[in-house]
C-alpha cells in the first residue's frame, strides 16, 4: 500500500487535493460576497482531485528504481533566476541561467557556450532594454544594468 502511495501520479493527485483543501479552507473563512466563486471552484477542485487520487491509487503499481536526472537542477535554476531578477535585475541572473541551460543540453565546448550565453542572455537583454527601450527589471536605479 505504501509503495503504491509513493507512485508520483498518486502523490500529485494527493498534493492537488491538499493544496485545494487549504485554499478552500481560506475561501470559506473569507467574506461571502468576494469568496462566492472561489468557494465553488475550490470545492469542485478538491472533489475532482480526491476522485483522481483514488482512481490513480487503484491503478498504481510499485515504482521501480529510477536513474537520477539533472532536470530538477534546471527547474531549480529557472526558479532561482526568476526570484533573483527582482533584486539583481534581469541581466545578472540570466547569464548563468542561459549558460547552465546550454551546458545541460550538452553544449559543452567553451566557445559556443560563451558566445551562446552572451548572445542569448546579453544580446536579447541589450536589444530589449537599451535598443527597443522595453524596460526590464534593473539592478541599478539608473536603469543601465
Amino acid at each position: 500500500m505504501i509503495a503504491r502511495l509513493a507512485n508520483p501520479r498518486v502523490l500529485l493527485g494527493l498534493a492537488l487535493f491538499l493544496v485545494g483543501a487549504v485554499l478552500a479552507f481560506h475561501a470559506w473563512r473569507g467574506p461571502t460576497d468576494a469568496m462566492l466563486m472561489p468557494r465553488v471552484v475550490l470545492t469542485l477542485w478538491c472533489g475532482f482531485a480526491l476522485v483522481i487520487t483514488f482512481v490513480e491509487l487503484s491503478h498504481a503499481t510499485a515504482m521501480s528504481s529510477r536513474s537520477l536526472s539533472p532536470l530538477p537542477v534546471l527547474m531549480a535554476a529557472v526558479l532561482i533566476a526568476a526570484i533573483a531578477v527582482a533584486s539583481l535585475g534581469f541581466l545578472l541572473p540570466s547569464l548563468p541561467l542561459v549558460a547552465l541551460t546550454l551546458w545541460l543540453f550538452r553544449l559543452r565546448r567553451p566557445l559556443p557556450l560563451a558566445v551562446g550565453t552572451l548572445v542569448i542572455a546579453g544580446g536579447l537583454w541589450f536589444l530589449f532594454h537599451h535598443v527597443l527601450l522595453i524596460r526590464l527589471p534593473t539592478l541599478l536605479t539608473s536603469g543601465a544594468l
Binding site: L12, P31, W45, M75, R106, L107, G116, L124, I134
Partner: protein, 506 residues
C-alpha cells in the same frame, strides 16, 4: 463613392504599403516568439509612428497587430509552445499534426485560416459594423455569462483520456484568475498579505509557464532521443479543393471570431476557445479533433484572426476598446487625430474606410509574408537544440517581465512551468488550465453583475432575454449531447473489448 476611392488611394500610397510590409513581418516574428505578443509589438512600434501620417502609422500598427496574432500559431504548431495566448487552442491539433510529420499541412492551414478569418471579418466590418455594434449592445452580463458557460464546455472536449483531470486543471486555471482584487467589491483574495499579489496574476506568465517552460523541461527529459528533434518548418497552402471541402469550418470560425471580437472585453483567446468548442460539436470530423485534425487549427486560427477586424467595431463605432491591444490602438488613433465614437463615420469617413482597406491589405500581406517568415523560423530551429531552448527560456522571462513590470510574474511563470511539467507527466491536459484562466474572470464578473441585476435570483437568468434563453438552451443541449455521446462511446468500447479478446485468443 468618391470617399471610398480616395480611401483606397490613401491605403495604397507607397508609404502605407511599406509600413504594412514592415509591420506585418515584424508582427509575425514577434508573435512567434514565446511570451511576446501584440502588446509588446505595439509597444515597440508605437514610438516610430509619431512622425508618420495618420494612415501610414495605423497601417504599421495594424500590420503588427494582425501579424502577431497569426505568428503565435507558428511556434504553437512547431514546438507546442504558442507564441501568444490567442494561439493556445492551435496547439491542440497543430502539434499532433507536427508529430505525425504533417507540419507543412498544419502551417498551411493555420496560414490560410488566418487569412480567411481576417479578410471575412474585414468584409463584415465594412458592411455590418453599425448593425453588429447595435446587436453587441444587447449582450449584457447575463448573456455574456451564458456565452462563456457555453465556451467552458470545450474543457470537456479537450480533456480526452480523463475528463476529471481536465476539469481539475480548469479549476486550477480558474482559481489562478481569481487571485488579487475581487472584481465587484475590491476585497483582496488569496493575497496572503502580499502587496505584489494584490494586483492579481496575468495570463501571459501562466501561458508562458504552462506551455513554453514546461516544453523546455519535457524536451530536456528527452534530449538524447533523436525522435524528439524540432521538425523542419515547411509551408504548404491548402489547394482549392481542400479548402472548399472545409469551407463551412472556415466560415463558422470566422463568423464566431467576428462576433466575439465585436463584444467588448472578450478578446481573441476567448474567441479561439469558443470556436474550438463549437467545432467539437459541429465539425463532421469531430471524432479526430485533438489528434491532428485540420478542423481544429481552422477553428482556432480563423476565429482569432477574425477578431483583429471586428475588434475595431466597438473601438471605432462606440469608442469602447475590447481589450488591451485595441485600447493601445485607440490611444494611437487619438494621438493621430482620429477620435473614435459614434460621430467617427460622419466626421472622418475617408479615414475609416482607409483603415478598412488597410486591414484587407494587411491580411493579404500576411499570406504573402508567411513563407519567408516560416523560412526564418526554419533557420532558427536548425540551430543546436540547446540554443533554441535557452532562447525560449529568456524570451519567456522577457515576455513575463514586460507584461506590467512586476518581477513576481517571472516567479509565477517559473512555478507554473514546474507544475505544468508535473501535470503533463501524469497525463493531465494543460489546455483546460489556460481555458479556465482566459474565461474565468469574464465568467465570474458577468455572473456577479447578473446576480446584482437580478437581486441574487439565479433562476431569473434563464428567462432574462431571448438571447440568454437561446444560449442556455444550447448549453443544455451541449451537456445532454456530451453525456449521451460519452455513454455511447463507453458502451461501444466495452462491446469491442470481448471481441478483441476473442480475436486475440484465436
Amino acid at each position: 463613392m468618391d470617399i471610398i476611392l480616395a480611401a483606397v488611394g490613401d491605403a495604397f500610397a507607397w508609404q502605407a504599403l511599406l509600413a504594412i510590409v514592415v509591420g506585418t513581418w515584424a508582427g509575425i516574428i514577434i508573435g512567434g516568439l514565446p511570451g511576446l505578443g501584440s502588446v509588446v509589438g505595439l509597444t515597440v512600434f508605437l514610438p516610430f509612428t509619431f512622425g508618420m501620417s495618420t494612415i501610414t502609422s495605423m497601417a504599421l500598427l495594424i500590420g503588427v497587430y494582425c501579424g502577431s496574432v497569426y505568428g503565435g500559431s507558428i511556434t504553437a504548431i512547431l514546438i507546442n509552445t504558442p507564441g501568444t495566448p490567442q494561439s493556445a487552442a492551435t496547439t491542440f491539433d497543430g502539434y499532433p499534426m507536427t508529430q505525425e510529420g504533417r507540419v507543412d499541412e498544419a502551417l498551411g492551414w493555420a496560414t490560410f485560416a488566418s487569412f480567411f478569418g481576417g479578410v471575412l471579418s474585414c468584409v463584415i466590418l465594412i458592411f455590418c459594423a453599425p448593425q453588429l455594434a447595435k446587436f453587441a449592445v444587447n449582450f449584457g452580463s447575463i448573456e455574456v455569462f451564458a456565452l462563456i458557460c457555453l465556451a467552458m464546455m470545450c474543457i470537456v472536449g479537450v480533456s480526452k483520456g480523463s475528463v476529471m483531470k481536465g476539469l481539475v486543471c480548469g479549476m486550477i486555471g480558474f482559481f489562478l484568475s481569481m487571485v488579487g482584487s475581487d472584481p465587484i467589491t475590491g476585497a483582496d483574495r488569496f493575497t496572503f498579505g502580499s502587496y505584489a499579489l494584490s494586483s492579481g496574476l496575468t495570463l501571459i506568465p501562466v501561458v508562458v509557464g504552462a506551455f513554453a517552460l514546461s516544453e523546455v523541461f519535457v524536451r530536456f527529459s528527452s534530449r538524447d532521443d533523436p525522435g524528439a528533434k524540432i521538425p523542419e518548418a515547411k509551408l504548404r497552402l491548402p489547394r482549392l479543393g481542400e479548402w472548399f471541402k472545409r469551407l463551412i469550418e472556415l466560415v463558422r470560425g470566422s463568423l464566431i471570431g467576428s462576433f466575439i471580437g465585436a463584444l467588448p472585453g472578450t478578446g481573441a483567446a476567448a474567441a479561439a476557445f469558443i470556436s474550438y468548442a463549437s467545432a467539437q460539436k459541429l465539425s463532421p470530423r469531430r471524432d479526430r479533433l485533438g489528434q491532428g485534425e485540420p478542423d481544429g487549427i481552422i477553428a482556432s486560427e480563423s476565429s482569432n484572426n477574425a477578431v483583429t477586424g471586428s475588434s475595431f467595431i466597438p473601438t471605432l463605432a462606440l469608442g469602447i476598446p475590447g481589450d488591451v491591444v485595441t485600447a493601445m490602438m485607440m490611444g494611437a488613433m487619438v494621438i493621430h487625430g482620429i477620435t473614435p465614437g459614434v460621430r467617427l463615420m460622419v466626421d472622418q469617413a475617408q479615414t475609416v474606410y482607409s483603415l478598412f482597406v488597410v486591414l484587407i491589405i494587411v491580411n493579404v500581406a500576411m499570406l504573402i509574408l508567411s513563407k519567408p517568415s516560416i523560412g526564418l523560423f526554419r533557420y532558427l530551429f536548425r540551430l543546436h537544440q540547446g540554443y533554441v531552448m535557452a532562447a525560449i527560456v529568456i524570451f519567456s522571462f522577457i515576455g513575463a517581465a514586460t507584461v506590467r513590470g512586476n518581477p513576481l510574474d517571472l516567479v509565477v511563470a517559473a512555478l507554473t512551468g514546474i507544475l505544468a511539467y508535473a501535470l503533463r507527466r501524469a497525463d493531465y491536459p494543460l489546455a483546460p488550465l489556460v481555458i479556465g484562466m482566459v474565461l474565468g474572470p469574464e465568467l465570474e464578473s458577468s455572473l456577479r453583475r447578473g446576480l446584482l441585476i437580478k437581486r441574487g435570483d439565479f433562476l431569473e437568468f434563464f428567462t432574462h432575454s431571448g438571447i440568454s434563453m437561446t444560449l442556455f438552451s444550447l448549453l443544455a443541449l451541449f451537456i445532454i449531447w456530451t453525456v449521451w455521446s460519452g455513454i455511447a462511446q463507453r458502451r461501444q468500447s466495452s462491446a469491442n473489448a470481448p471481441r478483441a479478446e476473442s480475436d486475440a485468443t484465436k
